[in-house]
Symmetry: C2
Subunit: 413 residues, 2 copies
């Protein structure tokens, strides 16, 4: 049983956080494109960033800042231009963005973290940004979470926002989060971004470790098209304003906080996979029996990322051979004589032997589960057991549709 | 300059080989589905097979046979049923197939190699196979290469066949090859298969080493959808009937033979990528400046396999940001300040800085090259340099189209 409840408010649900989202003219569509998350007091800050060799300036900037000091007052995010692969000029633009916001907020630019999303190779429209910042700061409020959630999206069809509350030391402790992303990478709108706020008091190293583990069980387990972004960033702030005692080591309270943090990350990660470009349903792949969790994760992500499996699910076709083939090529050693494959409750293969099954009923399961997944009430569930090991993992993905090709072929730079 | 010339005849061009392809009723379509390649005398045999954990019975069978003795008289290939993930029964069916053909040819079943392609999880239709074998053997002839090329395909739109001739010891030496595959894996028709015949006399270990290296530079460098097959097999027979002196160590003649073998493999590999499911054009990705060839290969294959790059090429969109992003996530360390990206002759990024370029002209290049690629006269060329290293590699792929999704979603098991 979950030890927390859902509440309203998104990233401004935790105490001491304000947020804003405005249209500053960065997107040619005129949609909101500039977001601010502001902590009233200094918050400890943890970040997990893309591991790719081609990175946006903001990713290098945040890494450097957090290495120097793991705390922050504000996060500034622009949508429309990714500021990735923009060379030295992109780096200068990042520094200038922090300076502009620091001046307006009257705080050190060092206390500001940055994120960008949009077209790779395009610089931020700095004039529009400079003009927008005073309005952005003026708009910051304790119920601005929704506006910020809107201002960070690009090709997303829906905003992704959540807030959870638990009790620590008899006081409510809250975590809020927003995310954007319609794929691990967007067409030209490269990026998966998530910002998380928390009002617990927690030691810096512990917060970073918790975030890393939570990301490994959530954002790192989703795939839409296998393309990693140049801008992927997850930043989590914790400001201690719940006034609970500081969590400085692993223990009951730390576990409670980490479980809630993980739940927030998983909610947002699944929301991204469900909103995958062109997708009609969320696919959940559960792998068990692996030598360890890492091996299970590799198999789960390979199945969730297989174009053939994804196409079959789009066709509502219980084509288990493709699932077996994807598991086999994942790079994890196992005996095919121990392979078990299930689709929902239908066992399709057992001990490496194909079973007779009701193909029509299995196809009907796919149709129903996919329809339910569309309504966010269900998922298409693929379960694979590869042996007797204790390793387990869950990955999430979406189906591959005509719409995905359309979005990515017909968008012209 | 190539040291050989193209000749007619495919796999029956080399001396001492016969082949046949017939419709034995394995495919419900009634198309040819059973192929035989027969060497008049014992030929040394080399094989390279899928590395996946979920393998077809014929793959395990060939591995075992070739480990015991690296020679063969015949290859039997059925299309329609992959005989993969068919458990113990699939293994018995493989043994029985070899036994049936051995009896008909009056040779040991040990001298027969097997390959299957078709729906994963389906057993070979053994009754049809048994009935077909006498006609198959009767049909074998020295100009049966074309028939065999037809009988091994499944969703392929065209057959893939080639023969080359060079001079060794003043005598003609020939290599012929056929292949099937419309992707690394087919929808339900899992498989990339290639069979190669050669009339040179060459030492067993040398032939196996040559084949391995040739496959690494050809079949292992193509990707259609990133899904590795359960049945992938390349088998090469060399029977010595050119009556040239035996090639027993690396030297001028061995290099000549290996170069020609590599050319045969690359021709067939590119033919497969060009015939990728739903593809409209062949994409060639050349990577240079890597620390070593392996690193270059990894980057080249990641770019060629990126759904976003493939979609952009389908849209004839010079969207170099996606190429940079794919290079960055390949898992190879490089400095983004040294990245150069070219599309045809257009330099789009230099020293990690985006360059101004004529977008319309670059899009026109894509349109022309893709049209040429369709006619097998051209390819869409992407060149990426990631640093100052000496590592280079070329990979081949195809664009991602609506048709790919249609083929893979609308095929119902």
């Amino acid at each position: 049983m979950a030890d927390w409840q859902k509440i309203d408010g998104g990233i401004t649900a935790p105490k001491g956080f304000k947020a804003a989202g405005i249209a500053a003219g960065l997107k040619s569509s005129g949609m909101p494109d500039l977001a601010l998350i502001l902590s009233e007091t200094e918050a400890i800050a943890a970040g997990v960033f893309t591991t790719t060799q081609v990175r946006a300036a903001c990713v290098d900037y945040c890494r450097q800042r957090l290495q120097a000091k793991a705390s922050a007052r504000a996060i500034l995010c622009n949508a429309g231009q990714a500021n990735a692969a923009t060379g030295e000029q992109g780096w200068q633009d990042a520094l200038k963005s922090a300076e502009l916001l620091g001046t307006e907020l009257n705080i050190s630019p060092q206390a500001i973290l940055l994120a960008s999303t949009g077209v790779i190779g395009q610089r931020i429209k700095m004039d529009a940004l400079a003009k927008g910042i005073p309005s952005l700061v003026a708009a910051a409020s304790t119920d601005g979470g929704k506006d910020a959630a809107k201002a960070i999206i690009t090709t997303d069809l829906v905003t992704k926002s959540i807030a959870l509350e638990t009790i620590i030391d008899d006081r409510p402790v809250r975590i809020g989060g927003i995310a954007k992303g319609s794929g691990m990478i967007h067409p030209n709108m490269a990026t998966m971004l998530s910002f998380i706020t928390c009002d617990a008091a927690v030691a810096t190293h512990l917060w970073q470790d918790m975030l890393k583990r939570a990301v490994d069980k959530s954002f790192n387990q989703i795939t839409v098209d296998g393309d990693t972004s140049t801008n992927d960033s997850v930043i989590a702030l914790a400001n201690g304003q719940s006034r609970t005692s500081a969590i400085t080591e692993m223990g009951k309270n730390a576990q409670k906080l980490e479980a809630m943090l993980t739940a927030v990350c998983q909610y947002l990660a699944k929301a991204i996979a469900r909103d995958g470009e062109g997708a009609t349903c969320l696919i959940e792949v559960q792998v068990s029996g692996a030598p360890d969790n890492k091996a299970a994760s590799t198999v789960a992500k390979t199945i969730a990322g297989s174009s053939l499996v994804k196409s079959a699910i789009f066709g509502r076709d219980p084509n288990w051979g493709r699932i077996a083939a994807a598991a086999g090529r994942a790079g994890v050693k196992f005996s095919q004589d121990e392979l078990q494959i299930k689709l929902g409750d239908f066992i399709l293969m057992e001990n490496g032997q194909p079973l007779e099954f009701d193909r029509q009923a299995a196809s009907n399961y796919l149709k129903q589960a996919a329809a339910g997944a569309y309504l966010q009430e269900d998922t298409v569930l693929i379960s694979v057991c590869i042996g007797n090991g204790s390793g387990t993992s869950t990955a999430w993905g979406c189906d591959l549709t005509y719409k995905y090709v359309e979005i990515n072929a017909e968008y012209t730079t």
